[in-house]
Structures are given as C-alpha cells and as structure tokens.
C-alpha cells in the first residue's frame, strides 16, 4: 500500500477547509495568506497547505516537507491556535472600496 492510496491520505484536505475555525480569530480571510515553513523555508498560501482535519484538532502541514505549521481547534468557549511552524504569515488586506459601498 502506498501513501497515495491509504485511508489516511485519501482523507487529507487542504488549508481551505481550515478557513472556518480561523475566521473566528482573524479579521480577514487567511486561506490566501502566505506562510513560511519554519522547518524547510517553503512559502505557500495556507489554502495550499495539507490539512488533517479528523484528529482532535485541525493540523495544517507544509505542502513541501509535511512538518506541522499550524494547529487550530475549538472546545467549549475557546478557540486554540498554535502557529509553531510558521515563521512569517503574510496576510493580504482587502482593498476597501472608496465608493463607500
């Protein structure tokens, strides 16, 4: 059995699916934010990171070296965020329309 077909890798998602819990913390959507991996230095959008979503918390891993970049979880009344593997998070700030809309 190879890692591309086993039951766990068949359920691997991408960072897009972590956008919900992260939206509870950030004022702007961060799935388009770019994060630099503390382990290997690769920079990628959080949306293209690998997400393991069925563990006790969501675990986001580097798409290049698979090291843990971010963990986010909820429990009654709290959101927990661990950014251990992200050395730099570059978040695009939405352009505010100047027509007041």
């Amino acid at each position: 059995m190879t890692d591309t077909t086993d039951a766990v890798s068949a359920r691997r998602l991408d960072g897009n699916a972590a956008g919900g819990p992260l939206a509870a913390l950030f004022a702007v959507d961060v799935t388009a934010a770019r994060s630099r991996c503390a382990a290997c230095g690769t920079t990628a959008a959080l949306g293209e990171h690998l997400l393991y979503a069925d563990a006790p918390a969501m675990v986001l891993r580097c798409p290049s070296c698979t090291e843990v970049v971010l963990r986010v979880g909820t429990r009654e009344g709290y959101v927990l965020l661990d950014l251990r593997g992200a050395t730099l998070l570059t978040v695009p700030v939405p352009v505010v329309a100047d027509d007041g809309a």
């Binding site: 591309t4 077909t5 039951a7 890798s9 068949a10 359920r11 691997r12 998602l13 991408d14 960072g15 897009n16 699916a17 956008g19 919900g20 939206a23 702007v28 959507d29 961060v30 799935t31 388009a32 959008a45 959080l46 949306g47 293209e48 979503a53 069925d54 695009p92 352009v95």
Partner: protein, 236 residues
C-alpha cells in the same frame, strides 16, 4: 431551508435563505453545523454552488451512506428547518469577475476547471457567475462523473464543459469516457503554453492525481489550485 430536492440519485440540492448574508465569491464554502438534542454536534464544509448574484444559497450535498451529516442533510432536513451555518469561507480557491478587473495581468490568462464528482459544486458557481456577468475571461471545465445521470448543475453547464463518463456511457455517447489521464488533459484542457489558472476540485485521491498529471504535462505547479474534499470524518 427553502427547498431540499434530489438533483441526482445520490446528490441533493439544498436551497437556503440566510438572513443577513454578507455575499460571497464563487468558490467559497460554508461550514454547516448540526447539533442533536443530546448535545452531540458535527460540522462539515460544503462549497456554495450558487453565484453571488443568486439571493438564495445552494449547496449540492452528496449522500455518503456511512456518514453522519450527509444522510441527515439529504434525508431528514425539510423546508423551514433551520441549522447553523458559518461563512462565507475561503479566499484562495476563488475566482470572480471583480478580481479579474482588479488584477489585469491574471485576467489575461484563461481559467481551466477540472472537477471530479461532487467537486463540480464550486465550478457551477463560477460558471454561473461568469455567464451572468458576461465575463471576457475564457473558461473551460473538464468534468469527470460516473454516469450521465449523475451530472450536477446541468442547467449551468454549457459548451465550455467537457464530460468524461467513468463508469457507464449511454448508447451513442460521443464524448469522453474513462478516468482523466495525461492524454485526456492534453486533448481537452487549455495548454500549458497559455499559462491557464487551473482549479482542481474533487475527492482527495482524484484531486492529487489530476494535479500531479497536470504538472507532468508541463503546467507550472504555482498555477494550479486544489480543493480536496470528501470523506474527512465521514468514514468513521
């Protein structure tokens, strides 16, 4: 909930009226949270299948027989029922006419969509949005589906769409059949030389196989965006 109807034998279209909805971009998703009377709750993500121009939100929910959320959403939820929804979510796997107006350089590049099964949902929203706003961006869809009767979003799909039927094709079928491979991608998708913005959505194994084949035929990995979906948590 305004309506819950079978779109195909395995997929229901849920039509939702969300008071105070802030609007969304094609490709974004929502998280649906169900809480039972016993306090047990579960949450799943679903792509929005309707464009921002449509006031009601449409979700295409595939029934996974061993799941716990999708059988409930497709089988039990009725008109006027309520449930919790969080969204819109996502700024990565999106395409919109307004973004193309802002980023003119990107806008010159065509958009190639590749869907597997229910992974067509966000692309139904993108194509509908594209058509309603008469976008000048060239957009194509290659859509892998098991049988013709399982095709989703028929009212939106048009000449930009190529179907490949992987399990069974009707008599006289002249389109593609079989799984997407390198030869089919060369034949039916926008060539690497045009630097398309490629979006791939489907079950994880499908999405990863298509993405790596796209890279194999010469696409720059940075031009490919993937949305894996599927059975996370549903298999237990």
């Amino acid at each position: 909930m305004l309506d819950n109807r079978a779109e195909t034998p395995r997929v229901h279209r849920l039509v939702l009226d969300v008071p105070g909805w802030s609007g969304h971009l094609p490709g974004q998703h929502v998280d649906v949270r169900l809480t039972g009377e016993d306090g047990y709750s579960a949450e799943r993500s679903y792509s929005l299948a309707s464009p921002p121009e449509e006031p009601a939100l449409h979700l295409l929910v595939e029934r996974l027989d061993d799941g716990e959320v999708s059988p409930y959403l497709t089988g039990e939820v009725r008109r006027d029922d309520e449930f919790e929804l969080r969204g819109p979510i996502g700024g990565w796997f999106v395409w919109s006419v307004s973004a193309d107006r802002t980023d003119r350089e990107a806008a010159r590049r065509p958009v190639q969509l590749v869907a597997g099964g229910a992974g067509v949902s966000p692309f139904v929203a993108m194509l509908d949005h594209h058509r309603r706003l008469d976008s000048p961006t060239r957009m194509q869809l290659l859509y892998s589906v098991r049988t013709e009767e399982e095709v989703l979003g028929r009212d939106v799909l048009g000449p930009e769409t190529t179907l490949t039927l992987t399990r069974q094709a009707p008599a006289g079928w002249r389109g593609e059949t079989g799984r997407i491979d390198a030869a089919m991608l060369r034949r039916r998708t926008i060539a690497p030389a045009e630097r398309p913005r490629t979006y791939v959505c489907g079950p994880t194994v499908f999405a990863e196989a298509v993405a790596s084949t796209l890279v194999g035929i010469g696409h720059d990995p940075s031009t490919i965006r993937i949305e894996r979906f599927g059975s996370s948590g549903e298999s237990s």
